[in-house]
């Protein structure tokens, strides 16, 4: 099946195999991993429950005392992960395998540098080399997309076929005589080409396209048989061949998608590697907001300036949070601002972190919304459990009187706040298309602060206000 295709008939016949066998009973989904177990902790912070005290049960007191005692004797250590700041990409890299896993599983922080979200490159690569089986989410998505694309192409092909049949019928009608009215002709020809038009009427549903495809394949086979029997069908044969010109294209796509599963790239050097010491080329990439949240708010991350070699002793000390804030603020500009510049209250990082922290502190899993053209996406519990319900757009607001004191400041803030209606409509239509509710999140920017020592006080001056904006369709709310 995976051999190269030469003749015109073959692809159709070959395609009919999987099409008729595999499609109708939809393959059962592979069992999902127990996400509830894997992602049971919402944050990478250790929590130690104290056994409840039950007044009439003295044993409970003992257990409480016991737990306190164990804490006293061996205080549980908070796991601290380490990462480094990469100036080139202005992001935080986590290379330690264990840290990557922990940060992803507890709170869905970061993104695999070679993956869509969860770092799964290693699994994919192992699978590609036939060292491991199972499917990663990227592959499932790709498979689904390929299938849909194929069906769409198929649909287009069917449409084309129907049009050609129709044209032929019309031409025949014109030849046969003007006396016959067209609609009679149409009726008679539709009777003639039963299968083709039946397929044509179903042209717009993917499911039906699927069925039509099997039908079409069978039809083609019959046609081939007929060809062998009688030569008079030559004309139809060629026209059919013309209409099937989409076919090689489809075939190509199909093989392209399935090729990773077949061990097609025999790489002699790497293939000889043991699956255990297979190098992981991927790292976890944290956004600056995520990193700052982990470092400053949770204290679960230490950020260094340069990558650490595994053997090396930590010579340099991790960046302090205030230095980190300064660094992130400078890097929130493109190109990065000079490191000597002073912190401004409306630095993009200050605003974006305010929003990030706000939603994190409410329990949302907040991730970048760049794939839908927004600033953030809000997940309930996490992306593996459900789709994001809200998409967040962040707009600064300069409502403090300080910002309207001078004409210069007024112009400056007006420019910063300005968002055009067209932009708004674009965003809101995209969100409607992907079934997200659009949240426009305004952040009130305070006047420049006197001191930057207290980061908590600094962020406490900002204020967040959310508006939910949705297209109103008067036709639907009439009742």
């Amino acid at each position: 099946m995976a051999t190269s295709v030469t003749s015109m008939d073959k692809p159709v016949a070959a395609k009919s195999g999987p099409a008729s066998d595999a499609r109708p009973p939809r393959a059962p989904r592979p069992p999902r991993p127990n996400f509830r177990q894997i992602h049971q902790f919402p944050l990478p912070v250790n929590v130690h429950h104290v056994p409840p005290v039950i007044p009439h049960n003295p044993l409970s007191l003992i257990s409480v005392a016991l737990s306190y005692l164990t804490f006293l004797i061996s205080p549980p250590r908070q796991e601290v992960y380490s990462a480094y700041f990469d100036k080139a990409t202005s992001s935080i890299h986590v290379t330690d395998e264990r840290s990557i896993k922990a940060l992803w599983q507890m709170g869905f922080f970061g993104k695999g540098s070679l993956s869509r979200s969860e770092p799964s490159w290693l699994a994919r690569e192992k699978k590609r080399r036939g060292l491991q089986d199972g499917k990663t989410s990227e592959e499932i998505t790709r498979l689904r997309r390929t299938e849909r694309r194929e069906l769409k192409l198929e649909r287009a092909r069917m449409e084309k076929l129907a049009i050609e049949e129709r044209l032929k019928a019309e031409a025949a009608a014109r030849e046969s005589g003007v006396s016959e009215s067209l609609d009679q002709d149409a009726q008679s020809t539709t009777d003639d080409m039963t299968n083709a038009t039946a397929a044509a009427t179903e042209k717009f549903s993917l499911k039906k396209a699927r069925e039509a495809r099997a039908l079409e394949a069978r039809q083609a086979r019959e046609l081939a048989a007929q060809n062998a029997a009688a030569g008079e069908q030559n004309q139809t044969e060629t026209s059919n061949g013309k209409s099937v010109r989409f076919s090689p294209f489809v075939q190509k796509k199909e093989f392209l998608s399935t090729s990773p599963s077949s061990p097609k790239l025999p790489d002699p050097v790497v293939d000889s590697l043991d699956p255990d010491d297979f190098p992981n080329e991927e790292h976890l990439q944290l956004s600056n907001e995520e990193a700052f949240f982990l470092a400053y708010s949770l204290g679960a991350l230490q950020i260094y300036d340069a990558p650490l070699n595994s053997g090396e002793v930590q010579a340099t000390s991790p960046t302090t949070t205030s230095a980190l804030l300064q660094q992130f603020c400078n890097h929130s500009f493109q190109p990065a601002r000079d490191s000597s510049a002073s912190l401004q209250p409306d630095d993009p990082f200050m605003i974006s972190y305010t929003v990030y922290h706000h939603f994190r502190s409410l329990g949302w899993v907040i991730r970048s919304g760049v794939k839908f053209g927004t600033d953030y996406l809000l997940y309930n519990r996490g992306p593996v459990f459900s789709h994001a319900e809200f998409a967040v757009i962040v707009i600064p607001s300069y409502s403090h009187p300080y910002w309207s004191e001078t004409e210069e400041r007024k112009n400056y803030t007006a420019e910063k706040q300005a968002r055009s209606w067209w932009w708004m409509h674009c965003v809101s239509r995209v969100q409607a298309q992907v079934l997200k509710s659009l949240v426009v999140c305004y952040v009130e920017v305070p006047p420049p602060a006197a001191s930057l020592d207290d980061i908590g006080a600094l962020f406490g001056q900002y204020k967040v206000r959310e508006f939910l904006i949705k297209r109103w369709i008067p036709n639907r709310t009439r009742d």
């Binding site: 130690h48 009427t201 400053y296 508006f467 939910l468």
Partner: protein, 451 residues
């Protein structure tokens, strides 16, 4: 202009036999399309929704279908529309606005008494503007003998049961063909029943010229008005109709009241932050540089999240309601909109179903700032998400919000409506749902939600 009107009226008289053949334009249209299906294909494929040809193809079938449906539409449009003399409503244009009834000369006292009963103030017969029956000063068209369903939701009746129409109402009706507006007769006494025939009908163009721009009516507002009106909504002008703030003069007391109210949010905000601070004093120790949550042993994720709450957020419940005059002009509610299903009484309009602000993208090229949008929302009453379903579903509560307003963004005649809701994410502590099964079941048990 008048000729055109006459032509239209005359035409059906000539072709009076046709209406007998065509039943009604709608049924005829459908039948024609059904017939078309028949000849095209054994299976019905053309009028079904969602199946359309996206690009032209050279088949005659497509061309036929196209021309046939075009023909059906032309046929429907060519159906003569009649203006029945029974339903004909004549109105008069009053360029100077409301004029008290002429008959008042005869029965001034009587009229005054009636007005006193029906409205709050007694009229001064000599001065027309502070009029008796709350007729808007912008009303400029009156209908001496109103009939028909439109006057259920439009216009204001004065003491002599004339209905006064606002410019947009008059324009909408004349555009619809439901009203015949006459120019004021030169003699100055338009109301005489015998003189009606002598008056000159106003053309649609003239109506646009006369009414557009009158009393704050802009083309954008009119587009919104007529669009919603055609969908069956009833619309009333909201108090914030006027850009130049005239109302605050009248409502001087309100304006004086607002400053202390305006102080409110600041105070409440401070109180709130103090409360927040008291709520978790431990966090202050470490917010400066270190982990907010501290390095100690955490007992529960709830505590962790509570410590993390350092960013102040806006609480729509504590925010005071503002006077419309506090808002900045384009972002101000100008229409109160009532659903067709809402029982509507002109004399006592119910609470509006929607509040609409009209924005022209050419005058206001940018989205509102938070101050503008906030003021707009605060000028609407609190509408918290309540109800059996809302209590159960957090997403629904968030989507509904605490206040809401509809912005009609008009871009050169194209209206797009945006519903803006004040959704307080801070009031929904998602982490309290954690640990247990999420979803409706959990939310229902979770009634004693903390702040």
């Amino acid at each position: 202009m008048a000729d055109v009107d006459e032509d239209v009226i005359k035409a059906p008289a000539n072709a009076s036999t046709e209406p007998d053949v065509d039943l009604s334009d709608e049924t005829q249209d459908f039948r024609f399309l059904n017939h078309l299906n028949f000849f095209a294909d054994a299976s019905p494929s053309i009028p079904r929704r969602g199946e359309k040809d996206f690009e032209p193809n050279p088949t005659e079938l497509q061309a036929d279908v196209l021309s046939a449906s075009r023909g059906a539409m032309h046929n429907a449009l060519s159906y003569p529309r009649l203006h029945n003399t029974k339903t004909r409503v004549i109105a008069f244009y009053a360029p100077d606005g409301y004029v008290p009834p002429v008959k008042a000369d005869r029965a001034t006292l009587k009229a005054g008494e009636e007005d006193g009963k029906s409205s709050e103030s007694t009229p001064k017969p000599e001065r027309p503007l502070p009029n008796s029956a709350r007729i808007s000063p912008d009303a400029c068209v009156y209908v001496p003998s109103p009939k028909g369903q439109f006057f259920k939701t439009m216009g204001q009746a004065d003491s002599s049961s004339r209905v006064w129409l606002l410019p947009e109402e008059a324009l909408y009706l004349i555009e619809r063909g439901s009203l015949d507006i006459r120019w004021p007769s030169p003699s100055g006494s338009p109301a005489g029943p015998g003189e009606e025939d002598l008056s000159i009908p106003m053309s649609l163009q003239a109506a646009y010229a006369c009414f557009m721009g009158r009393g704050g009516l802009t083309l954008e507002r009119y587009s919104v008005y007529t669009g919603l009106r055609r969908l069956g909504y009833a619309l009333l002008r909201a108090p914030g109709w006027f850009d130049d703030i005239e109302k605050p003069d009248a409502d001087a007391s309100n304006v004086i009241e607002t400053p202390p109210k305006l102080h409110g949010p600041g105070l409440a905000g401070i109180l709130g932050s103090i409360f927040n601070w008291i709520h978790d004093p431990r966090s202050t120790a470490s917010t400066a540089t270190g982990p907010i949550i501290g390095t100690g042993i955490h007992r529960h994720y709830m505590d962790v999240y509570r410590k993390l709450a350092i960013i102040p957020w806006y609480d729509p419940v504590t925010a005071p309601e503002r006077h419309p005059a506090d808002t900045t002009p384009p972002f101000r509610v100008v229409f109160h909109v009532f659903k067709p299903s809402t029982p509507f009484k002109k004399s006592a309009p119910p609470a509006p179903d929607f509040r609409v602000a009209v924005v022209s993208t050419r005058d206001q090229t940018t989205m509102p700032t938070m101050t503008q949008l906030g003021a707009l929302l605060e000028s609407t009453p609190l509408d918290p998400p309540r109800g059996e379903k809302m209590d159960r579903m957090m997403y629904m509560r968030l989507r509904h919000g605490y206040r809401n307003v509809v912005m009609a963004v008009v871009d050169q005649g194209v209206v797009s409506y945006l519903r803006v809701a004040d959704s307080a994410f801070g009031k929904e502590k998602l982490y309290e749902n954690k640990g247990g099964p999420q979803g409706p079941k959990w939310n229902r048990n979770q009634k004693p939600r903390k702040r």
